[in-house]
Symmetry: C2
Subunit: 368 residues, 2 copies
């Protein structure tokens, strides 16, 4: 990941105290910092390139437009600003946004109204995980006005805690698998050969004995053939059971994504261009790209921000992604993400996501 802290050009600019006793907050200079902040703030708010006179009029920097122009030219040379064309104002570059996020932006404070609204929206009554997650996606997208992506919780070291076979009728069984995640998954399995309570119970016990406590990697071939040999006539059935167990344990299992608010983005002027809008919306049909994007910074404890090219996916290089993990019980971790234009209201998005993920953690703590 490319961040302000390891980018070669920025490394030397990290806040430092000058020797002479004067606090120079930063290598790029205090005045430039204020100016850059003003420019990014203004651009985030108004979506229009910011000119030197605009700065003079809107922000009290006590400088003339000519001075601002000189400073802007410096900031452009440093790589923090871009110019769409000669006679437009400046817009922040990816680096500019990065510097802004790291050390310029003011922390957003959620208003009382916002907090109350979020709290009440997050009092989720649903029982099923998928309903909870889809509600969370809705809440995030409404709170931020960007697209929200939520991914199902998974855990890396998942073992089988319990297996049960419940007879439904003579040719169908319900296979119930309890994993160490605390998740309970079930699937109906059809058997060509008739089944009954006693064989189901016997099978249940046998399977439990052989498989309990095992992870996906520790189920060996000998275990499998052992089980197969015990039930020679139920070959088909056993195969189906293995397949389902594998799905339950597989780390890269087909985690469901929950999306919301993808069309929010059409409200932002940068997507008035129908092709840009289409490109953005098409992202959300490509689940694999989203999943990989959500895998970024997997060890982070809190919110991470990926601005444009910093993303690990080529397809996201025009967008910013704000990512936060959440915990569902002891071991399970999922992620919530916000996707929007690089011109994003970072401070509000970050704080909202922090708040929401805190609430989610509480919610799941109660549930598990």
């Amino acid at each position: 990941m490319l961040t302000i802290n390891n980018h070669p050009r920025i490394k030397s600019l990290i806040p430092q105290i000058a020797k002479k006793g004067v606090v120079i907050v930063d290598g790029i200079g205090d005045r430039k910092r204020l100016l850059l902040q003003a420019i990014v703030d203004d651009y985030i708010k108004n979506a229009e390139p910011v000119g030197s006179r605009t700065i003079v009029k809107r922000y009290e920097l006590g400088l003339s437009s000519a001075t601002i122009r000189n400073e802007m030219a410096d900031l452009e040379d440093m790589g923090f600003l871009d110019k769409p064309h000669t006679s437009a104002g400046r817009i922040p570059s990816h680096l500019g946004y990065r510097y802004y996020v790291n050390s310029l932006m003011q922390r957003y404070h959620l208003s009382q109204t916002e907090i109350e609204r979020l709290s009440s929206e997050l009092e989720i009554q649903a029982h099923e995980l998928k309903q909870i997650l889809s509600t969370i996606a809705d809440v995030v997208s409404r709170a931020t006005n960007y697209a929200a992506v939520v991914i199902e919780p998974t855990s890396s070291d998942c073992v089988i805690n319990d297996i049960k076979l419940v007879v439904i009728d003579s040719h169908s069984l319900l296979l119930v698998v309890v994993t160490s995640d605390g998740l309970i998954k079930s699937r109906v399995i059809k058997s060509d050969i008739p089944v009954n309570e006693s064989i189901a119970n016997y099978m249940t016990n046998f399977l439990c004995e052989k498989l309990k406590g095992l992870s996906r990697d520790s189920v060996t071939l000998s275990t499998l053939s052992n089980i197969h040999n015990e039930f020679p006539q139920y070959h088909e059935l056993i195969m189906l059971i293995f397949k389902f167990l594998d799905e339950c344990l597989k780390e890269s299992r087909n985690e469901q994504l929950y999306l919301s608010g993808t069309i929010n983005v059409l409200n932002y002027p940068e997507y008035n261009d129908i092709d840009k809008a289409k490109a953005f919306l098409a992202l959300f049909d490509k689940k694999d790209i989203l999943k990989k994007a959500l895998e970024q910074d997997n060890n982070a404890k809190g919110v991470s921000v990926f601005i444009g090219v910093e993303n690990n996916q080529e397809e996201l290089k025009e967008y910013s992604l704000i990512l936060s993990p959440y915990k569902a019980g002891e071991k399970l971790r999922g992620k919530v993400a916000i996707i929007g234009p690089t011109r994003m209201h970072y401070s509000k998005a970050i704080v909202s996501l922090e708040y929401i993920c805190g609430k989610i953690n509480q919610l799941f703590e109660k549930l598990f």
Copy 2:
């Protein structure tokens, strides 16, 4: 529903044989029919108002543009054509489309390639209903290039066939409900009071005895209090069981919708206007409107078409909806819909949907 057959203006125009031995195919006249067909075909294909000279050049009607103009004026008077402005060509009105769909359009023939592609895409390996339905939505949207909506199958007279409680641990049970739909639903239920195998088995038997064969309406208060009295200390648990049973049986249960290809529509010129695109895409966030739209013509056996204002939902009056039921087993019925602009390739959409639903029925027949 307003169709060509009961619309007051059109009623008199239904095909009829003239007395004199000459076959006058239709009250509006053979020539006008051909012309209308040409205009609608052309407009569906090119998305541009059709002028009299265009018709002369592209279609061999053997008439001069002046004659065509006269005929067009007639068709406009009859309500089949609209004019965007004086010097544009004509476009079909809702009534024009309706007449076209009812008696003008040529049946589309799926090519060998299309059939092969559909067949292979519909060889769905998934086990879970939701995966199957979401794949179906994908197939429909890819086949037609419009948005696809699939709704879960439900049945109106659903009774409880079986109930099982499986002990997971001392405070959780898996409740399994088998309904006459052939669906098996399960949910984990937490109990404050500890549970064990024997109480679970007893409860399972008691519940089965009291509730088996009952529909939602035939579960009476006395049955409920009967059960409550039998397990005074498990009041909470019983409440949760009832709640889940109710959900399983409720006709208007929260049927899941599966969407796909909503952004396909951005490829059509009528949605180059960002506001139109937004309005269209916003539809798919309003599940209740979609559900009501899919409830139209509930008794139809085959494909139905709703053009613009014919839809029961105000929000759909600019769009056309093509709807087909599918069967999942004996009693379960779901619906598949295509939503797109009124300028839709009706013949292809209808035939594709027919074909796909046929395949779906076969698929589910095998599964149940």
